[in-house]
Symmetry: C2
């Protein structure tokens, strides 16, 4: 049978599939993307975008398209409970959903229906000539790298009405099919349940008229008549979640259901003494849900799962889409690094390792938090005190509740993701054993996002967000915090000299078309593998790129910055970006950031070859070539 050849076949055009194809399409991959629905999500479904996901969308240039739909923004969560005398409900407290101790650019969650979000991705795909093949479904696949080393995966897909089918070959197959994944079932990968408790939820989106004062806030409401969760939406809508049944009920029935009118009547009782009426219901659905995690995300690093195919949560956590986004982003850059010949194929194993751990941590944390909260509702001042701190570090005398509260905020904002030590996240067990590697217990930690920082771009004096300066283009971002230009003149010269020696990570992965690169190329004049950014601790007007930056760094003239912006979080620092990274403002340091924005390694900036030697060791742990040999012989 004749086959078509693709880099990847992606099944499912929900958040995880769309994020993956959007990224890979931008990077030039040939994609077959199918979905068994005839149209994008018309109403309902996942809708919360975390603060951290807004950073990611901005890095992809998609945030403004999302914000153009004017999503609701949740800054605070309100808790309502029966009062002491037991009648009706009263507000017992409000908490910031992303408190000041988290250094977020966008300290709020946006709520927007999934269809709008999907279309932002679909429009972007169209710019790269890709459209989703609908309504098509996957019927069979097999993966055999021995027989077919170049395109090991064969996939048979079919129109849902059976009128047409195709068999294609691909380098990869990705299942973004959701909780009922055909691919996962075929691979016989079991789903484990961290919390065996299951629930049946009713969810209703609509426009209401009410005198309940917190209808535009996220609320958790407990009453003698039951519990609901309120989530504001765009266009004056509100979503209500109501628990219809729980496996802890005496008469538990996972098929229990309720009509729209029954749910509305329940909500009216729960909200008493406040009134609520529906002007319009946009969407209503009842569905059973349990927390589950797929035991494997891949068996052979050719067929992968992501999103709801790997992990399901209660809707309360609001994590579905955000976790899906990060699954896709994590996989995308690793496929890219392998396919372009930068990284060893083993890098792909870290997808499951990193992302499964995040899902597990998330679920176990969610349980712990819910339990703690049900045992002892915290006092308002306790929460206030925890929220107001502008530093993420644990302070003395923090009780268990405050600690758990903070962790919860980090998770729900998306900043709680912490990848463990491995070949790409340096630790003292990493093969790179240079004494110049900086142990990272301070504000900057490997496996965590680079902290935010404002700096001034030297060429045009624009004040910019340093962490956003390199778009999501698959390149490692090497931030040279150059400290004091005068004191570090020799160190910078030596850094440049050793960088350009043969055998370095720099020289080993130069672009083959380096002689034809445009003078206007901003991010990748030397290599698609990395971008260099240089940040001097000093006023913009004191910096002359030609004089202060060695030629190889000066070539990235749009990526030379002055660390001269005041930051309230490090109010006394002269160079706030250096300070936020925990780096000395005279001596600086080099921070390697993975293509997805997580810190890979931090190295001291010194005179001699040591800094580049250390970077060669770091990259050598997962690159395809032996690095640094030449230098070691010198």
């Amino acid at each position: 049978m004749a086959s078509q050849y693709y880099d990847i076949v992606i099944v499912g055009a929900g958040p995880v599939g769309l994020m993956l194809s959007t990224i890979l399409a931008r990077w030039g991959y040939k994609i077959k993307h199918i979905d068994n629905r005839a149209e994008p999500t018309p109403t309902g479904r996942a809708d919360g975008i975390q603060p951290r996901s807004l950073d990611l969308l901005r890095n992809m240039g998609l945030k403004s398209a999302i914000m153009a739909h004017k999503p609701a923004r949740v800054y605070e969560v309100a808790f309502w409970d029966p009062p002491a005398d037991g009648k009706g409900i009263v507000r017992t407290g409000t908490w910031a959903s992303c408190p000041a101790f988290i250094d977020a650019r966008y300290p709020f969650t946006t709520l927007l229906h999934q269809g709008h979000i999907e279309r932002v991705f679909i429009d972007d795909l169209a710019k790269n000539g890709l459209s989703i093949q609908r309504p098509w479904t996957i019927k069979a696949f097999e993966s055999d790298a021995k027989a077919h080393p170049d395109y090991p995966v064969q996939v048979r897909i079919e129109h849902v009405d059976g009128t047409a089918s195709e068999t294609v070959r691909a380098k990869y197959l990705f299942s973004g099919e959701g909780a009922r994944s055909f691919v996962r079932e075929q691979l016989k990968i079991p789903v484990t349940h961290i919390d065996p408790i299951a629930h049946v939820w009713g969810v209703m989106d609509g426009v209401v008229k009410t005198n309940f004062p917190d209808i535009k806030m996220k609320c958790t409401i407990h009453s003698e008549h039951g519990s609901i969760m309120v989530i504001p939406r765009e266009d004056n809508m509100v979503r209500l979640y109501i628990q219809i049944a729980s496996s802890t009920d005496a008469d538990w029935n996972p098929r229990k259901t309720a009509t729209e009118a029954q749910v509305q009547a329940s909500a009216q009782k729960i909200l008493h003494p406040y009134t609520i009426e529906w002007e319009r219901v946009e969407w209503y659905s009842v569905y059973p849900i349990g927390q589950g995690i797929s035991e494997r995300y891949t068996l052979d690093q050719r067929v992968f799962l992501g999103g709801d195919a790997c992990h399901t949560h209660s809707p309360k956590a609001g994590q579905g889409m955000n976790t899906a986004f990060l699954d896709a982003q994590n996989l995308a850059w690793k496929i890219h690094a392998v396919e372009k010949g930068f990284a060893d194929r083993n890098l792909l194993k870290s997808y499951e390792v990193e992302r499964k751990k995040v899902a597990e941590t998330l679920l176990s944390f969610d349980n712990k938090y819910a339990k703690l909260f049900s045992q002892r509702p915290p006092a308002a001042n306790e929460v206030q005190a925890a929220s107001d701190q502008t530093s993420g570090s644990a302070s003395q005398g923090e009780n268990e509740f405050v600690k758990t509260f903070k962790e919860n905020c980090e998770f729900t904002s998306g900043y709680g993701v912490a990848y463990e030590a491995n070949a790409i996240n340096w630790s003292d067990r990493h093969p790179a054993q240079s004494p110049l590697m900086i142990s990272t217990g301070g504000p900057i930690r490997t496996g965590r996002l680079l902290p935010n920082a404002d700096v001034t771009r030297v060429v045009d004096a624009n004040v910019v967000h340093l962490e956003q300066e390199v778009p999501l283009n698959g390149s490692f971002r090497i931030f040279v915090f150059a400290g004091d230009a005068q004191s570090n003149r020799v160190a910078l010269r030596d850094f440049a000299r050793n960088l350009t020696r043969s055998g370095s990570f720099f020289s080993s992965y130069l672009r083959s078309d380096i002689d034809q690169v445009s003078w206007h190329e901003t991010h990748n004049p030397h290599s698609h593998f990395f971008t260099f950014l240089t940040i001097f601790a000093g006023a913009r007007s004191s910096i002359e790129i030609e004089r202060d930056a060695p030629e190889v760094l000066a070539r990235y003239r749009d990526h030379v910055y002055a660390d001269d912006r005041w930051d309230r979080r490090v109010a006394n620092a002269k160079a706030s970006a250096h300070a936020k990274m925990g780096l000395d403002e005279t001596r600086g340091g080099v921070v390697v950031v993975r293509p997805d924005g997580y810190v890979g390694a931090v190295v001291k900036l010194t005179e001699g070859s040591g800094t580049v030697d250390a970077l060669n060791q770091y990259f050598g742990a997962f690159c395809t070539k032996k690095l640094g040999e030449t230098m070691a012989q010198l």
Copy 2:
């Protein structure tokens, strides 16, 4: 001859005409809009948008569409001059274009070609069913309010090739035709020249390759070979202005010209020792320009002029489009207030009074500044000291240069516009003689923009920009700074009680459909004439709208705010928005802001009827109805 009837005929679809028709189309007016060009501006022309204009565009919801084109952003201006030894050029200083003493949300100027900007307006017009009739031109008009009181203006328009013509009747005619205005010529309105010096300028947009380090900055370069100005543009482009001839030259010839190659050769000489080559020239033009102001902006308050038809400047000031925007906005809301029956027709006289004064001040200031600067280039530390101040108030020992520098920054940023006292800008000569009117010499001044302030919206805990909360909808914005909710309980109750009495400005201009207004109506539940916003000095969680705001203010539930955000400019204030307005954080005060964002009046908030009496007096000075009579009798 049969006539069609329109509210307004707008001639010219440059910035002033498009801004006017966009605003009026949104407010439901029937518009005939013609332009004698077959297409919007394809290249070149005006391109700088000031910080203040970005505020305005955001208030119209158009800023993100502009920013989607990724305009260049100018934060600093660099000055290059011959060095002491006379060879080549050296940088002699850089200045912030919108220094910290100006409290701007967007402290930069964006540069984007006029065609992109025009299309943003054209797309918005299309949403309201309006398209520009092209290429059509005006051939004749006459205005006779006695013979035709409803549609006094008759206009004959024609296709530019003469193949078709129409005669229409309108309430208003607006000329946004540019410097060579047919309407102005027909009205025989002379243009006066404040500075008689004229210049011939060459202007070239293109993509260059250069080692001149400030090519992405706005630069003024003087050399022994002549002078140029550098303006960065979007898409790696740069604009160079080069002066080809000046009326102060011995051989002055206003028809002198230069070829593209000649201008490039000149630029290469001027930039020496740096090199510059053009990869591509997008646009090149030579044109003579002088500073001139039309003596009148209207003769009868029916036929109006605006934009370049009224005032021309040297391109260096970068003021053309921004001044045009404000001309249009100023006229639009006044036409609206008159046509909807709120304001007396005399209000329209203030268009010329306000806008002509701004143009005069701008031009005379531009001259004064240029003269001062040519006499004595300031020392870098002098400028630095002036720029760094975060308060706009004059400090002791400020020399003439610093004072002029600051005024210049205010003008070029757009925040220098200060309308003089009249019926809508209160002063102690205003008919409203209530002792509760606050004399405004502090941070808040009548005729000036409301200061920026961050506050927290109570219903949803969103942190918002208070000055942006009411869109440009033609309504007066009445900010009730309520101070301390507890202390002001009686004052607020009395305010609400007197507001709703018959004869008040509130009761006199209620919507005729007030019984059918949707529960979700945010801005105009009572009247299209005004929106109320209530700001309490206190933490969001301490405010209960139902308890703290009287019913009439609580109806604007999306416009109740907590003044609980920290602001570096008033770092020690507990209620920073109150502090930025110069209002006491316990007692508060009422600030009336015109529909265009300029402060009209500030009134003390007191117990009894005094506050509303004062507002009745203020509005009574320009409204169609007698206000406050009933109350005065009580």
